[in-house]
Symmetry: C2
Subunit: 183 residues, 2 copies
DNA sequence: CAATTAAACTGGACGATGTCCAGTTCAAGG
DNA sequence: CCTTGAACTGGACATCGTCCAGTTTAATTG
């Protein structure tokens, strides 16, 4: 049962990330610790550093991987405004799925990973097709992202009513989109 | 120079909070540690626990105290919608002042402290005077708070352009208010 | 004014965290 | 087959928040 030094355990980067995801789902953010992760993989804590640069890099990867679940609408949809609404709603729903991660999006700025970049790009394209002038697109995108992430943060805060928070998110999204297309 | 056990150091809860605020301003959130705080006050780390329940309570107090700087508009202003806009803009500006605290507002839900309650109450009164139906006020308030705090979080993230972020905040605030009064 | 009580502190420790420095062993490539 | 480099373990380091005794001082009581 005891593995000596040098013996392989067959770890993979994706295995580490999967275990981290599971650990996060089971025990929350405070439960996600390098040692607990190693324990779950039956490995010494240091072994993780062969597959991950450190905890922050681990978390960053988790954050962006999570965004992969966002439903990417067809960029040539008939109604681009409705498509943007769908995109943001899907983002909100996905974020709410992992409450512990939401504050981290604010802390680490949610724009680094490739999934975040992809979502931003399709959003820009949809906004352009909706008639938003090019120089106004950054402002519009900023507001929409702030709204989705901020609403998710409030929706997942303890003591919040999830359904009421979602209703508020949808209402605010409509108001923002109305203002954006009118500008 | 060395103080034996039992000798008083003359600490106060407000002295501890002030030192914590200064420490936060100088060294940021990672620099705000119980031990560093004690060092700054020339006191053993445990001494702090005579004036503060723990670090989370310390941070919560810091958060709410920070909101005291928000300019509270006269609740009987001529234009209630403009007053709400001023309130939210002042909140945004105050939040941006302490970048490290902003993510914590999302984490700990920004509604517990007395200052937060006070701001929420005046906001509700202004919205009512603006003609917003009572059952729609919670949704409106939720969206406005989300917008202010979320925009502040994005504005203070590293790599963000502060002036552009503020412009985006003002634009989004206008859109939200337009939608709120029209509902 | 004297005696008791409660609070403010110090000393020292505990458990836990992220991470690094050696070693050891296995798997693959020349 | 041999060599090289990566995957591991063992053990340690610094640091964190917090608690348990003690000790002394200030406030309160009779």
């Amino acid at each position: 049962m005891a593995r000596g030094p040098g013996t392989r355990a067959g770890l993979t980067r994706t295995a580490v990330l999967d275990a981290a995801r599971a650990l996060l789902a089971e025990d929350g953010l405070p439960g996600l610790t390098m040692r607990a992760l190693a324990r779950r993989l039956d490995v010494a804590p240091n072994a993780l550093y062969s597959h991950v640069a450190g905890k922050t890099e681990l978390v960053d990867a988790l954050l962006d991987d999570h965004l992969a679940a966002v439903h990417d609408p067809t960029p040539d949809a008939a109604d681009p405004v409705a498509a943007v609404a769908d995109l943001m709603t899907s983002t909100f729903d996905v974020l709410v799925t992992a409450p512990d991660l939401v504050p981290l999006y604010l802390q680490r700025r949610g724009a680094r990973g490739e999934n975040a970049i992809r979502l931003g790009a399709t959003m820009d394209a949809l906004l352009a097709r909706a008639g938003v002038p090019a120089e106004a697109i950054p402002t519009a995108r900023n507001n929409l992202i702030v709204h989705a992430v901020g609403a998710a943060a409030f929706a997942t805060a303890e003591g919040a009513d999830p359904t009421a928070a979602r209703h508020a998110f949808v209402a605010g999204l409509g108001w923002l989109l109305a203002g954006i297309v009118r500008s």
